[in-house]
């Protein structure tokens, strides 16, 4: 970890905010425990064993927990087995095997065809330390303006590449 990157400055917060949120979080823990109410009740019942026996065993209060537990544990085990099995089969099948040949790098020509710009423009733009591009409402480049120190004129309307736009954006 790079400790200086973490910005933890509670001192910059208003005290109301700082302590207010901490207190509110505490309240939320309380509310959260409310979700656990049935479990807490179970524990409390066990503290008074006779009542616990009456409520949980004799009247069957624990069956709710058992039902939920069996249901959840069953589903979790089944899903996990399928999931890990699938992962393991794939690992065994494909580890160390890469059927795909390394794809060639995208050439400048492919780029200029795709973005409908002239090849000489792309060469010039890549040589600029600073460049401003103007776009039409569809996001296509219509003009370019090199920054200071560039060796070509200040605002150039783009020569659109005559090749068909090979846009495949919606594949």
């Amino acid at each position: 970890m790079t400790p200086t990157l973490v910005i933890e400055r509670p001192d910059l917060q208003a005290w109301r905010q700082k302590y207010g949120y901490a207190a509110l979080t505490f309240v939320f823990w309380g509310l959260y425990l409310y979700l656990w109410q049935p479990l807490l009740s179970l524990v409390l019942w066990f503290l008074g064993l006779g009542l616990a026996y009456q409520e949980m065993l004799h009247l069957g209060g624990f069956r709710g927990l058992l039902d939920v537990l069996v249901f959840y544990v069953g589903i979790i085990c089944a899903m996990s087995a399928v999931f890990l099995g699938w992962g393991w089969i794939n690992y065994l099948r494909f580890r160390g095997v890469d059927r795909r040949q390394a794809a060639p790098a995208v050439s400048p020509q492919e780029l200029t065809e795709f973005f409908s710009v002239a090849p000489e423009n792309l060469i010039q733009w890549r040589a600029c330390k600073s460049l401003t591009l103007h776009h039409d409402p569809h996001g296509d480049v219509v003009a370019a303006e090199p920054g200071p120190g560039a060796s070509y004129p200040s605002l150039v309307q783009c020569d659109r590449n005559p090749a068909p736009n090979k846009r495949v954006a919606n594949r």
Binding site: Y72, L84, D98, A103
Partner: protein, 400 residues
């Protein structure tokens, strides 16, 4: 679903991370160090972009260039970037005359990039000095790897939201990405830090200017085209708090759910079925389990409903106990796995209680709102930047 993430994330950790004792500061030696173009799209990042570029210039990688794309900013971003470009040989600046949105900014960056490998990071993020090397490890070891997503870490932790998000990023994002890697496809690469192979982007048609979440969409495009996306937890990227983005994320999920539905049903796309199903399940949860249960309960108070539809009470029963336990267990597992990348994250456990109590509800609401919004959204409408609140940052506030 949470248990699938817990099981999958733990298995990923056990299989890929447990034995690796190098630490993120010591990336392995690569057989080759091909040139990398780092693309930084930014809009109105005058307060952050200098730190971002300084961190990038410190990359411990021999061959890289930085292309900063200023997307029609109306603050000092453009001037700052030009000054950087004038002083640093590795930096080039591309200004877009008008705000075009992140997707077009990255398309233009990719067009001007001279390298086959791109690393795209946000204009307010600080990339760990070894991150590029960790990302490149995957491109050099797998010909079908089209993208590698890194590990975003929250920097701003003073506020409540920041503290909750520390837990959320390791739990929801870290754990789900690990689990999804086990079934071979991930829902989304992180828009904050991802490396791309340009060939994969080119085949998939680059980022779509009309999708509300460029990162989710490009992840689906690449994977539908059979490219692999890997997760590299050692590629750390320090980010400011991404606030008020929840509805956008939910809408991005609904967009891909609809957009790729038709193309999904062939045997060759089978690996995407699980991701799609996972997404559908979360929407189902939001709509059916939460909303309908509440509506039926409320309705039952005024009219007599048939027996199977009657919800007697919203008071938690044993299911509530299970839900409560599941959530805390998920956070505990994910913070434990994550602690090797950032020690002492355990103290954020106190704040994660907000997640089940309030955040889940917010997420349910955003999912419920996002689906109709996506359906009625004007087709082809351009998506542009929305700059969120990023939390308390004294360095930035001290700047003029």
């Amino acid at each position: 679903m949470a248990y699938l993430w817990i099981v999958g994330g733990s298995y990923y950790y056990w299989h890929w991370e447990r034995k690796d004792r190098r630490g993120h500061e010591n990336p392995p030696k690569l057989p080759d160090y091909p040139r990398v173009s780092i693309i930084v799209p930014c809009r109105n990042e005058g307060g952050n972009v200098a730190d971002t570029l300084t961190a990038l210039l410190n990359q411990d990688y021999p061959a890289f260039e930085i292309i900063a794309v200023n997307d029609g900013s109306n603050d000092s971003t453009g001037t700052l970037l030009d000054a950087f470009a004038a002083n640093h040989e590795r930096v080039r600046v591309l200004h877009l005359a008008k705000n075009q949105g992140k997707a077009v900014a990255m398309r233009m960056g990719a067009m001007l990039a001279a390298s086959e490998f791109l690393v795209c990071i946000d204009g307010d993020a600080l990339l760990d000095s070894n991150a590029v090397a960790w990302i490149m490890l995957h491109f050099l070891s797998g010909a079908r790897v089209g993208a590698v997503t890194g590990n975003p870490r929250i920097r701003t932790r003073s506020s409540l939201l920041g503290k909750i998000q520390v837990g959320e990023f390791s739990s929801i994002i870290g754990l789900t990405k690990r689990a999804q890697r086990i079934y071979g496809r991930i829902f989304t690469a992180s828009g904050v830090v991802t490396g791309f192979r340009k060939r994969a982007l080119h085949q998939a048609g680059y980022w779509s200017p009309d999708m509300i979440t460029d990162d989710i969409d490009i992840s689906w495009k690449l994977q539908m085209d059979h490219w692999d996306i890997r997760f590299e937890p050692n590629a750390l990227c320090w980010i400011l708090m991404p606030g008020k983005q929840r509805l956008r994320w939910a809408q991005g999920g609904a967009e891909v759910l609809l957009k790729y539905f038709r193309g999904l049903w062939s045997w060759r796309k089978r690996r995407m079925w699980l991701v799609w199903f996972e997404l559908l399940l979360s929407l189902f949860w939001a709509y059916v389990v939460m909303t309908f249960v509440f509506i039926l309960w409320a309705l039952g108070k005024v009219v007599a409903l048939p027996e199977p539809w009657m919800i007697e009470t919203l008071l938690p029963g044993w299911t509530g106990v299970m839900l409560g336990f599941t959530c805390l267990f998920q956070f505990a597992v994910s913070l434990a796995i994550d602690s090797r990348y950032e020690p002492n994250t355990g103290r954020y456990y106190y704040w994660v209680v907000w997640y089940p109590m309030a955040y889940w509800l917010i997420n349910v609401c955003t999912a419920v709102v996002a689906l109709p919004r996506t359906i009625i959204k004007h087709k082809g409408a351009r998506a542009v930047w929305i700059s969120p609140d990023r939390g308390i940052n004294p360095e930035q506030e001290a700047r003029p």
